[in-house]
Amino acid sequence: MLRRTSPVIPGFGLTLGYTLCYLSFLVLIPLAALFVKTAELTWEQFVAITTSARVLAALKLSFATAFGAALLNGVIGTLLAWVLVRYRFPGRKLIDALIDLPFALPTAVAGIALTALYAPNGLIGQFASAVGLKIAYSPLGITLALTFVTLPFVVRTLQPVLADIPREVEEAASCLGAKPLQVFRHVLVPALLPAWLTGFALAFARGVGEYGSVIFIAGNMPGKTEILPLLIMVKLDQYDYAGATAIGVLMLVVAFILLLLINLLQRYIRTR
């Protein structure tokens, strides 16, 4: 822990001090305040709030859609990163620049645009509703919005790792008789998996907390298409600050456990 191995950035004490200071002001103190505020409730009240049907439904919805979106991005993002790293084609730089756009765009704009497109009378939504598929105002729509917002994570974490795998490694595998699928399974996947999990975890974490884009496309029907962050907003509107923080604590704990699991999985893969 106290190894001083990097002479490039001098002053372990100073840098660690600064880091802890920033971390405290930006992350630790606000989170601690969250817990302190929640502590105004009795344990019974806390349990009652966090296990109410509406909260549980929203919790399930929030985590399920975020998980779905992260998974979807895991596939699309891998493909995108692959195409951008491995092929040279006109417009490649443009597409590469477009990847980051979901980060720059106000999420509300994204939400409204997606709603306009995928609403039952929207440009794309009308075809979907023709075959009986409802996109906007359903969990599917929420997943869609989250996929849009978290798109860059998997792409950007995979790109450098992919670029770092020399083509020769795949060629070597082919020379040894491996079929394309075997090359992918035994050579590429193991090399990419740690970075992929990082991208997945980032997308998932971001998706759980996303608010702006989802509230427009979700429809926000309690128990059906109401996400947890919205529920917190509802509680705040009713001046139920303790109730809102209770839900915040719930989200925090669940998210922390899930991210911890992903991290452990990553470590298991690395040391295997």
């Binding site: 070597a172 082919s174 020379c175 040894l176 491996a178 193991p190």
Partner: protein
């Protein structure tokens, strides 16, 4: 297994990488593709392997046209310049890879694989490294592992792309002698690419000298060195001195093809000593001849009589012992 290359052409955009290449490699031979970078030697090797497809022409293994066969069905071992080991796998798993990728019906059981891998690691003298990862190995060790991995699937043909190019001089020398011995022991047809003429001369049974997408000469090391087909081969296979014998007439000779004398002698020309470099068994003397800018390099045994008490600035008399007349250049 013999290899025939028939009328192979390859173009990259406007760049003609290979121009109508024909080449016969006999079974059991160790052949070097020698040439400067960009001459097409690596492209030819990759086409033989099936990693690259020729624009036209065919590749024939032992009488059978394999042009349309995929790389994984050609059963060639390929060794890359930068090893291309699988970083996330142990050395053992790297070597076992080819065996484990076989279709279920041909795949040996794990015990057989373990035995085979152990044999291969013993062959490359690295059996104690099985549970390490590639990044924990030195360059020379990695390349030997890459070789063991390529040999695991018992290829009939071994192709090596600048196998020693990324190694330092001493390891390179050791490894290429070791490769020549290994080639003797196991019955393989091997082709290796190099830009180092010394390496080609030391290891290969036959040398294919290439330049700008064509083959300049094919022959044994002695043949290509003693009887170069053209000035390119002559220059590429070793240092050459150019001695002007009048207006537009000059001869070429190698630094060691020279006689030096401290006194004026028959047919010897005077020159000023510019530099004296003892290089171990030989000593290199740089001479400045009147009437030409290009210096003459002379390499003589370190106990040559002319070297006794020789100092810079003195006059030395020299005569090329052999030489290729100017019609070659």
């Amino acid at each position: 297994m013999s290899i025939e290359v028939r009328n192979v052409n390859k173009q990259f955009g406007a760049f003609r990488a290979l121009n109508d290449i024909n080449l016969d490699i006999h079974s059991g031979e160790l052949v070097a593709l020698l040439g400067p970078s960009g001459c097409g030697k690596t492209t030819l090797l990759r086409i033989i392997a099936g990693l690259e497809t020729p624009d036209s022409g065919s590749i024939v293994f032992h009488g059978e046209d394999v042009s349309t066969r995929d790389v994984r069905d050609r059963n060639v071992g390929f060794v890359f310049q930068h090893y291309a080991l699988f970083r996330h796998m142990t050395i053992f798993d790297n070597v076992a890879f080819g065996l484990r990728m076989k279709p279920k019906s041909e795949r040996p059981d794990e015990a057989t694989i373990a035995r085979r891998v152990k044999e291969l690691l013993e062959m490359v003298q690295l059996d104690w490294l099985g549970d390490r990862y590639p990044e924990q190995l030195s360059g020379g060790q990695r390349q030997r592992i890459a070789l063991a991995r390529a040999l695991a699937v018992e290829p009939k043909i071994l192709l090596l792309d600048e196998p020693f190019g990324a190694l330092d001089a001493k390891v390179r020398k050791e490894l290429r002698r070791w490769l020549a011995r290994l080639h003797e022991e196991i019955n393989l047809t091997s082709v290796f690419v190099t830009h180092d003429q010394e390496e080609a001369m030391e290891v290969a049974d036959r040398i294919v000298v290439m330049n700008k997408g064509v083959i300049e000469q094919i022959g044994s090391p002695a043949e290509v060195y003693e009887h170069p087909a053209n000035p390119f081969v002559y220059h590429f296979l070793g240092d050459a001195n150019r001695l002007y014998m009048g207006e537009e007439h000059h001869i070429l000779f190698r630094p060691h093809e020279i006689s030096l004398s401290r006194n004026a002698a028959d047919e010897h020309r005077p020159a000023e000593v510019r530099d004296i470099r003892p290089l171990g068994a030989i000593t290199r003397v740089t001479l400045k001849v009147d009437g030409q800018e290009e210096p003459i390099e002379a390499e003589v045994a370190k106990d040559d009589a002319s070297l006794v008490d020789l100092a810079r600035g003195q006059t030395l008399y020299f005569k090329p012992k052999a030489g290729v007349p100017a019609h070659l250049s």
